[in-house]
């Protein structure tokens, strides 16, 4: 699955963005959502972006994925500027983005609809439905699935088109705690198996520390990069066992202004 191991990366340089739909007291006021954010992503890396609500995390990935344009600055993927949404950068949305009028199967093959070889297409779809453990649920409609299964179906739909980068904007929000924990595990396993670049947004610091190869900590708005931490800890990670990880957890919390109840 992995190609261009050395070359493939996202490079973003110093862009500023003002948010259009912010409740502005004066017309024409500029609101800085992201302030001179720069970062690189290595191919196959699972990067978690954490930060307080409204810090511009979502705006950032929406820009990288091509859904929004920056006020200034640029986004490059493999050296090419992003020119809008494409199936090279698939977005897994905060709320369920499956088409409710299609079955799991029909949702998963959305990105393969132009593939000429129908049998190869079917095999590929089956393979990815199997990866997300949804075999047997192909003919179910999304509203008949649990929240966790819906996210997994969406994940299969995203992975099946072999995107360069997978963006996940708080994909576990709205799931119950136990399902969240299981989904973390599944993402970690899936990532070790597939080695796609994943940009994962969350405001859950533990989630980020458990999953990520690297975490980027954002400040409050306007979003700037406060910390950029490479995590070399092996999986599975446990705060109670690994004191270094536990120390890191405290550091991140303190960086975000939380000093008690850790």
């Amino acid at each position: 699955m992995i190609e261009n191991l050395t070359k493939s990366y996202i490079e973003r340089r110093a862009f500023r963005r003002n948010m259009g739909n912010d409740p502005a007291p004066h017309k024409g006021d500029e609101y800085l959502v992201l302030d001179s954010v720069s970062m690189d992503f290595a191919n196959g890396e699972l990067v978690c972006i954490v930060g307080p609500s409204g810090c511009g995390k979502t705006t950032l990935v929406r820009i990288i994925a091509g859904f929004e344009t920056p006020s200034s600055g640029s986004v490059l993927i493999d050296g090419d500027p992003v020119r809008g949404p494409s199936s090279d950068n698939i977005f897994v949305f905060q709320h369920n983005g499956l088409f409710p009028w299609l079955t799991v199967w029909d949702n998963v093959i959305l990105g393969l609809r132009h593939v000429k070889d129908k049998q190869a297409m079917a095999e590929r779809a089956s393979e990815y439905i199997d990866i997300v453990n949804l075999t047997g649920f192909e003919n179910h409609y999304p509203h008949h699935l649990s929240g966790g299964m819906q996210r997994r179906a969406e994940l299969a739909r995203a992975l099946v088109v072999n995107p360069e980068v997978l963006f996940m904007d708080e994909p576990f929000s709205g799931l119950d705690f136990l399902t969240r924990l299981k989904m973390r595990e599944e993402i970690i396993n899936m990532h070790e198996f597939i080695r796609k670049t994943i940009v994962f947004i969350t405001h859950d610091i533990e989630e980020a520390l458990v999953m990520a190869d690297r975490i980027v900590v954002f400040s409050d708005r306007p979003g700037t990069v406060r910390m950029n931490i490479q995590l070399e800890f092996p999986h599975p990670r446990d705060f109670h066992v690994d004191s270094e990880l536990e120390q890191l957890r405290r550091t991140v919390y303190q960086e975000l202004g939380v000093h008690y109840a850790l």
Binding site: A65, P85, S86, W101, L110, Y141, V161
Partner: protein, 254 residues
Amino acid sequence: MCVSAYKHYLYPLPAFIALGGLWELFSLYSGWSASAFPPPRQAAVGMWELMTNGMLLKHSVASLFRVTAGFYLAVILAVPLGIALGWWKKGQLFFDALIQFLRPISPLAWIPLAVLWFGIGDKPAIFLIFLSSFFPLLVSAINAVNHINSLYFQVAANFNFSKYETATLVIFPAILPALLPALRISLGIAWLVVVAAEMIAVKSGLGYLILDSRNALRMDFVVDAMIAIGVIGILLDRIIIQLNKIQSISWGSV
């Protein structure tokens, strides 16, 4: 499921029986003559006559044909146009006022022009039915497109959907649940209008049957035609409701 199914058919019956009882009482004690207010028994005899001589079937089929033709025509034109206008926001600015101007003009107001343009026969009636269904459907379709979850458009863009694919694979299925009540209402309106449309320029249909029976002073036939209109109206409504049982549509009501 089984219990609710039989409730579905049994529970409405007392109201119908009560209506029949009231009808009987009225015809007995109102003092109106049987020719002005036909009692149920006379209507039943008339109904039997209409059923056995084939007139009821003939006129019902004629009305249903016109409604079907006019309604389909309206659906085929209004839904794609609604999708286009719903999607093209600037187009709404251009055309919304015009639609709202034409919409309240009763289809019946078009009768003189319809007869002038299409002559006599099925065509003016179909045109009137088309008009009656077209505007409610168009407005509902535009409205439904405006309320599609914007996430679906982002997903479509993410998977490189062309404009045509977005219209047919996203917008159309996305508006179906909202369109269904509009189809139901406009088919009801179409069925209302066909009776009026058939009182002009045609020699068949339930509307014609009512007009012709009145001229022949057969009020029992008038009542029978009314009953037939009601029964067919229920059946048409049931057909549309059945569509809501299709899984790719019913997600909207979850």
